[in-house]
Structure formats: C-alpha cells, structure tokens
C-alpha cells in the first residue's frame, strides 16, 4: 500500500506504543512522586523544616503527632462527622434513589436537577451559603455545645453535599433491579413494606456499601466547606492541618498526613473488593 508506512501498528493498539507508554509512566510519576516524597520525609530525623535534606530514620514525628492533643481531637472530630454523615447520606441517598426510580410526579425534571446540583456547583459557593445560613439561624452558637453536638453544623453541611453522590451510586444499582421479583412477591401476598425490606433493600446492598464508602471519604476529605462552617472550637483534621501548614511546614504534618493517606488507601481497597472490579467511580 502506498501510504501505509505510518500505519504498521494495528489500529487502537496504543498501549504498545513506547511514546504513549512513556506518557503514561511520566503521568504516574507526576501523580505519585509528591505523595511518596511526603511519606518518606515523615520519617526524616531533622529538626527544622525537615523536608529538604534526609537526616536519618525516625518515628518521633508520629509520636509527636499522637501526643498533639489538638490534632488528635481534630482527628476524632473528623471521624465522628464522617460516620454520622455516612449514616445520614445512606438513608437520604437510598430514599432519593428510590423516589426518582419509582415514582412519576409533577416537576420531576426540576427535582432531579436540584438533587444533582450539589454535585456540580463550586464548593466555595456551597460553603459560603451554608456559613450564611448557619449564622442567620443562630446555629454558629452550636460550636459552644458539649462534644458531639458542637459538630452538628459541619455534619449537616457534609450530609448535604455527600448524599446526592450516594443517591447517584444507588440509583445506578437500582437500574438492574428485576421488577418481576417484586410482582411475584406481591402475588404471593407481600405488603409494600415487605417488598422494600425483603426484596429491594437486599438488592441494593452493594450500591449502599459503595455509596457509604464514597460518603465517608468525601466527608473525611472535605476542607473548603468545613473551613466555612466550622467555628474556632470545632476543628476537623483537614482544617487543623491547614492551620498548621499556614503556620509552618513540619515533619509532624507529614506524619499526620501519612496516617490519613493510609486510612484512605485501606478504604479504597475495601471499596474495590466490595465492587469486585476496581473501577474508581
């Protein structure tokens, strides 16, 4: 063939091309190198800064991080918020998914739009609007309440942005539901409640697990919205790390970050195992 010089390779065999392999490799290095450097330097035995020159192995910054009561408190706050957010998101998300899957009702396209809106609008807009809402309602004062109740603001904010994601995941799962199962159950005398409890919910289980893990990670990760809705006495882990970073760069932050990265890795591994196939969404 006359022009076939460039097309020796089979079509769509890009994974075999060394140029593309190189791009993939460099991208992976670009994405992972900063995190790996951070983890390595969390073990660096250096007094100040500590992020430039390697001065030997130590775990003292982990001890320091665990001894930092404010940091531990922020971490416990973050975990508490994430757990409550996950529970609320699973409940609200499952209900939203069933609502949109099951019923025909007026203004449905508008409702669907509003449900997916928290996923698409810029985080800072949501943070600002919730901060103004809480201050108008006088809810900022909840920061002075006793421990778990002072986190109400942040938990409400997290649930508001997390449950639409959960709903989206569960709704995908609902699409594979076989309606004949339900009809059979009704023919055999099941009540509406029994249909939901014994037929639909068991079918949704993998979706619910995936949605729960997503809500947990989203809540644990969030900085911007928490930054706007938290008070001086209610600090989460990312907000605490942020104030430490503004103050100075210490190996202690690296140690704390490494712990959080490991938690995220474990959760992702769990999610992959639960879904049986490692697709990230």
């Amino acid at each position: 063939m006359l022009f076939s010089r460039n097309s020796k390779a089979a079509p769509f065999d890009y994974a075999r091309k060394w140029q593309l392999k190189l791009v993939f490799l460099l991208t992976t290095v670009f994405l992972y190198a900063p995190i790996i450097v951070l983890i390595i330097f969390s073990f660096n035995n250096s007094r100040r800064g500590g992020n430039v020159v390697w001065r030997g192995f130590t775990t003292k910054y982990y001890e320091k991080a665990f001894a930092n009561s404010q940091l531990v408190e922020a971490f416990i706050n973050s975990l508490t918020i994430a757990v409550v957010t996950t529970i609320l998101s699973v409940i609200l998300g499952t209900m939203t998914a069933i609502l949109l899957w099951r019923f025909r009702f007026p203004f449905k396209p508008a409702v669907e739009g509003v449900v997916s809106l928290p996923i698409v609008i810029p985080e800072i807009c949501m943070g600002v609007s919730l901060a103004m809402f809480f201050s108008q309602m006088g809810w900022l004062a909840t920061g002075d309440l006793v421990w778990p109740f002072n986190l109400v603001n942040i938990t409400v904010a997290h649930t508001t942005f997390a449950f639409p994601f959960t709903a989206m995941v569960i709704r995908t799962r609902l699409q594979s539901f076989n309606k004949e199962l339900e009809e059979a159950a009704i023919d055999l005398g099941a009540s509406t409640r029994m249909v939901y409890r014994d037929i639909i919910l068991p079918h949704l289980k993998p979706g619910i697990v995936a949605g729960a893990l997503l809500a947990f990670t989203l809540s644990l990760d969030d900085f911007v919205i928490t930054f706007f809705t938290s008070g001086p006495n209610t600090v989460t882990f990312p907000v605490k790390v942020y104030s430490m970073v503004r103050f100075s760069v210490t190996p202690e932050i690296n140690a704390a970050s490494t712990i959080l990265i490991i938690i995220t890795l474990v959760l992702t591994a769990l999610a992959v195992r639960m879904q049986r196939e490692p697709v990230a969404s």
Binding site: I35, I121, A131
Partner: protein
C-alpha cells in the same frame, strides 16, 4: 414507574425527608446568598437589603476584573493540559489488555481519593526553592554543564544553577491545578474511548490516512462528547479552587475563590462576597447549559 397518586403515603415517605433536607439546607441557604447580594453594609455587623445592584457592579472594578481574567486563563490552561495529557493516558488504558485495564484505571484514579489538602501540601516540597523540582533541574543543568566542559563549550552556560521560584507564581498554581484535576479528566475520555467502534479507525488506516491524521480526523471527533464532559468537569471545579492558589500562590496569584473567602473571613463584606459567589455559580450554570444543549443535539443526530 408508579404515579405518585397511586400510593401517596409511600411517596410522602420517600419525598418529604429527602426533598425537605435539600430545601432547608441547600436551596434556602442559596436564597440567603441571593438576598445578601442585593444588600448593603450599614455597620460592621448589620446588612440592609436595599435591592442595590452595587455589589454586582463592583465585580467590574479593575482590581476584580484582573483577578477574573487570571482565574479564567489559568483555568483554561490547566484544563487544556489536563485534557491533552488525559487523552493520551486514557488511550493507553482503553487499549490495554482487559486484565490490566481496571488496574491502570485505579492507578490513575487513586490519587483522586487522597485528601485534596494533603495533595496540595505535598506539592510545597516539590515546588519550593530548595524543592525536588529545583533539585532535578539543578542536576540536569550541572550534568549538561560538565558535558559541555568535555567538548570545551562551557562558556555557553553559567556553571552554577540559580534555583527558580515556583511558589507564588502562576506556573506553580497551574502546576497544582493540573496535579489535582488530571484524574478527573481521564475518566470521561476513557469512557468515550471504550464506546467507539474500532473498525472506523481500521477503515481510516486502510484508506490511507496515517496514525496522526486518523487520530485528529477520526478518533478525536468520535470522542468529542467525552472530551466536552471532561472539559467541563475539569474547568468548573478549577474556576472555584481556593486551596491551590492559597497554598501554592502564596497570596500573590489569587483567584476568584480567594477574593470570596476574604469577603467572609477578613473583609467581612458579605454582600459583595455573595454577589461574587453567585457570579461564579452563574458561570457554572452557563457551562452546564452549553453541555446539555450539546447532548440534546447529539442524541437527535443519532436518532
């Protein structure tokens, strides 16, 4: 699907808590922002809602316009880089063996699951004056210099490497934006590449087009839908990024989100902050509208 009238109680059970939550904690707060955007500060704590358009007019002051322009071009450059690199990465994943595919995808998506703050913070060590990037550049500089010395051309460049400043420059911020957003842009392009009919590529190659021509004239047009989705889900969050310009820009490369934050934390000018937030929201809506118009047209063409 059931009509809600057939089982109003079940419908109420599912709709009241969920839609109620969204109304109280999502729509109502947005309405408050909207109301404030027409308000005026009468004292440090009081705001009077006078219906003024002054807050919106202030967006077009030169200082703010400079920031908007910078936000726009930095987001555009970051999105273009993410899409170009993301496309190549997606091509590799989409044409890998079925067994390797999910793992390659996971490899690219895993950083996306890592905390955003930690990822941005980790870049401080890379981009600092004594950071890894400068160390790497210094190594390249010095080895080039000694190579030139061997052939007696060392006069071409100075012997010592002068570290470059990345933090507090647009380069540093764009680097950070690309770092954060790259995994996002890969996924929709990968999904589009998975769906295409590979025999079209074969046909193009058989009919005499080279690989490069096939890429631009066949592959890219066929995956346009995925590219547009990728562009929007990369561009929109980039526009509203607060953390990246804050930590990597060192207050010298502020983007619009930093100005919004300042109105609420330091300047205490809620009406202006509200107007800016809504402006950002409106831009998001316009972009989403363009996307859905494109989707509708596309589905009509197929039918």
């Amino acid at each position: 699907m059931d009509n809600w009238r057939r089982s109003p109680l079940t419908f109420a059970f599912f709709s009241l808590p969920t839609l109620g939550w969204l109304f109280i904690f999502f729509l109502f707060p947005l309405a408050i922002v909207w109301q404030y955007s027409f308000g005026e500060n009468t004292s440090i704590v009081d705001v009077e809602f006078t219906g003024t358009l002054n807050n919106y007019a202030r967006i077009f002051q030169p200082e703010i316009l400079v920031l908007l322009w910078r936000t726009l071009w930095m987001s555009t450059i970051s999105t273009v880089i993410c899409l170009s690199v993301g496309y190549l990465v997606a091509m590799v994943i989409a044409s890998a063996s079925p067994r390797a595919k999910p793992w390659l995808l996971l490899l690219i998506m895993l950083p996306f699951w890592t905390n955003l703050l930690i990822r941005t913070y980790s870049l401080l060590n890379i981009l600092g004056t004594r950071g890894r990037l400068n160390q790497a550049l210094q190594w390249i500089w010095e080895s080039t210099h000694s190579l030139l010395q061997l052939v007696g051309l060392e006069g071409l460049m100075a012997a010592s490497y002068k570290p470059l400043t990345f933090l507090g420059t647009p380069f540093g911020v764009v680097f950070g934006l690309v770092y954060i957003m790259l995994p996002f842009s890969v996924l929709p392009i990968y999904a589009a590449l998975e769906r295409i009919d590979k025999s079209c590529l074969e046909a193009s190659l058989d009919l005499g087009a080279g690989q490069v021509r096939t890429f631009f004239k066949v592959l890219v047009p066929m995956t346009m839908g995925g590219l547009i989705t990728a562009a929007i889900i990369t561009f929109v969050p980039t526009l509203g990024q607060f953390l990246t310009p804050d930590l990597l820009g060192r207050g010298q490369v502020d983007m619009i989100a930093n100005v919004i934050e300042r109105q609420f934390k330091k300047a205490n000018d809620w009406p202006f902050g509200s107007a800016l937030s809504l402006f950002l929201l409106y831009i998001t809506f316009i972009l989403l509208a363009i996307k859905s118009i494109h989707d509708v047209r596309q589905s009509r063409r197929v039918v």
